[in-house]
């Protein structure tokens, strides 16, 4: 069964990163949410823990918005 990646990211961002729910949108940039590069790696580890989907470091270089990360992870779902 496919994972709802947006829902998973939203849950992690709200619960672990203390981001207000209404700020977590596809268009929100990680920088705008106050996440630095270490936080983004941390976020992807949490995603991997919940879904088994791995995002590589070099792939993350292109990721600016939450939507970018969701699309990247969705592309890896069978």
């Amino acid at each position: 069964m496919a994972h709802d990646i947006m829902a998973t990211f939203t849950e992690i961002l709200i619960e672990d990163f203390d981001i207000p729910a209404d700020e977590v949108t596809r268009d929100a940039t990680f920088e705008g949410l106050g996440l630095d590069s270490l936080d983004v790696v941390d976020l992807t580890l949490a995603l991997e823990e919940k879904t088994g989907i791995t995002l590589e470091d070099d792939e993350l270089e292109e990721v600016v918005t939450v939507g970018d990360a969701v699309d990247l992870a969705d592309g890896k779902q069978e």
Binding site: E15, D16, F17, D18, I19, G34, L38, V41, D42, L45, E48, T54
Partner: protein, 422 residues
């Protein structure tokens, strides 16, 4: 050289959170030792520990901040925040700013570039090591948190206090194991004396209560095997058999007297003497002749310009281990001769806070002066006949307390003594 005064104090210790609560806890002489829930269900050989009062770092600092930091940094933030507020050094929060505990940072009129931070810690982020290493072993290198290094580094707490307050003066963490809190105050004071800072946020912090550390200290024979909180930590008692692990943090604001007077700060005491030394002897055992401990005490007296008879009370290192207490009492006798300062160890209540011990005991030393009271050494019933000292037991002793020496001795044979006055 300028006099260095204490203008703020903050503490979170097993005896209580906040200066007044912690001091009342010490005076109560009721041990804070309790079975640690994590260790009563596994094979950890010792289950008693002295934990800091419960607090919720998510609620106090925000989940986003607290999860990026180890417990030892949380404790340092609690004590640092209280000390800065106590000193009247925190500006009100600016609108929309998110800096819980530290308001708008240092107040106007204080030159931020001349405010230092000097913390001591024996271990740093022990719990981060303990929780992250299994990830590496079980899930592999790619699952190691990128937060591991910044969380566990032992200088993170000092760095975070500078980020939160805006202090841009000299910023360091010193490690002399169980003397680290005292060493930090020594070096912090010297930064002020040498003109490198007006103010130093100085103290010690430790959060080392992990199964790994408890097991290791137990394997060394350093922890008591006694699981009765009312007698486990009993410094100088004939039946003492080891220390109880504690955790917590204490921070003081050290300030040049000129700076303190200019801004009308309340003066809680003076750090008039500091002495440091090494045993050059053994990794964990003190030399029988008192070696480095004697030197540290003598140097602190000399630094203060005091004679032994000027010291009314000694807040002893007094860990409740057979070797420390015997050697410390012997060293005190060598330094003080027939003058017998009222000797007490507050570790009967707090357990041994390792790198935070010297810092929490500095605050208890200041409180002894402020209240003219020497706390009783909790739990101690029968003073070891081999110990020739005026150990205060039973009830707190009301007496004039003009000057206090606080001793701290670390593994590696690293020793620190501080002298405080009103």
């Amino acid at each position: 050289m300028t006099d260095v005064v204490i203008t703020g104090r903050g503490i979170i210790s097993p005896a209580g959170r906040g200066v007044d609560a912690a001091w009342q806890g010490v005076l109560s002489a009721v041990s804070a030792a309790a079975p640690h829930p994590e260790f009563t269900t596994d094979d950890t050989p010792v289950t008693l520990a002295c934990m800091a009062p419960e607090f919720d770092p998510d609620a106090e600092f925000g989940r986003g901040t607290s999860r990026r930091l180890d417990r030892y940094t949380h404790l340092a933030m609690v004590a640092g925040s209280e000390a800065l507020a106590d000193a009247g050094l925190l500006a009100p929060p600016s609108e929309g700013a998110d800096n819980p505990g530290f308001g708008g940072g240092l107040v106007d009129g204080v030159e931020r570039d001349r405010v230092g931070v000097l913390l001591g810690s024996g271990i740093g982020g022990a719990q981060t090591w303990a929780s992250e290493y299994p990830n590496y072993i079980e899930k592999g290198p790619r699952r190691v948190s990128p937060m591991f290094i910044p969380k566990m580094l032992s200088n993170t707490a000092a760095g975070v206090i500078s980020m939160r307050s805006g202090a841009r003066g000299p910023n360091m963490t010193v490690n002399t194991a169980c003397a680290a809190g005292a060493s930090a105050m020594h070096i912090g004071r010297d930064l002020i004396r040498s003109g490198q800072a007006d103010l130093v946020i100085a103290g010690g912090v430790e959060a080392g209560i992990t199964g790994l550390a408890m097991s290791a200290f137990s394997q060394m024979g350093a922890l008591t095997k006694n699981d009765d909180p009312s007698s486990a930590s009993r410094p100088f008692d004939v039946d003492r058999d080891g220390f109880v692990m504690g955790e917590g943090a204490a921070v003081v604001i050290l300030e040049s007297i000129e700076h303190a007077e200019r801004r009308g700060a309340t003066i809680f005491g003076r750090l008039v003497g500091a002495g440091a030394s090494a045993d050059a002897h053994h990794m964990t055992a003190p030399p029988e002749d008192g070696g480095g401990a004697i030197l540290a005490m003598q140097r602190a007296l000399h630094d203060a310009g005091f004679d032994p008879a000027d010291i009314d009370h000694i807040n002893a290192h007094g860990t409740s281990t057979p070797l420390n207490d015997k050697t410390e009492a012997y060293a005190v006798r060598q330094v003080f001769g027939d003058h017998r300062p009222a000797l007490a160890s507050t570790k009967g209540v707090t357990g041994h806070l390792l790198g935070a011990a010297g810092a929490v005991e500095a605050i208890f030393s200041l409180q002894a002066i402020a209240t003219d009271t020497v706390p009783a050494t909790a739990n101690t019933q029968t003073i070891d006949p081999e110990i020739d000292a005026d150990v205060v037991i039973g009830e707190p002793r009301p007496m004039p307390v003009r000057a206090v020496m606080s001793n701290s001795f670390g593994f590696g044979g690293q020793n620190a003594s501080l002298v405080f006055t009103a």
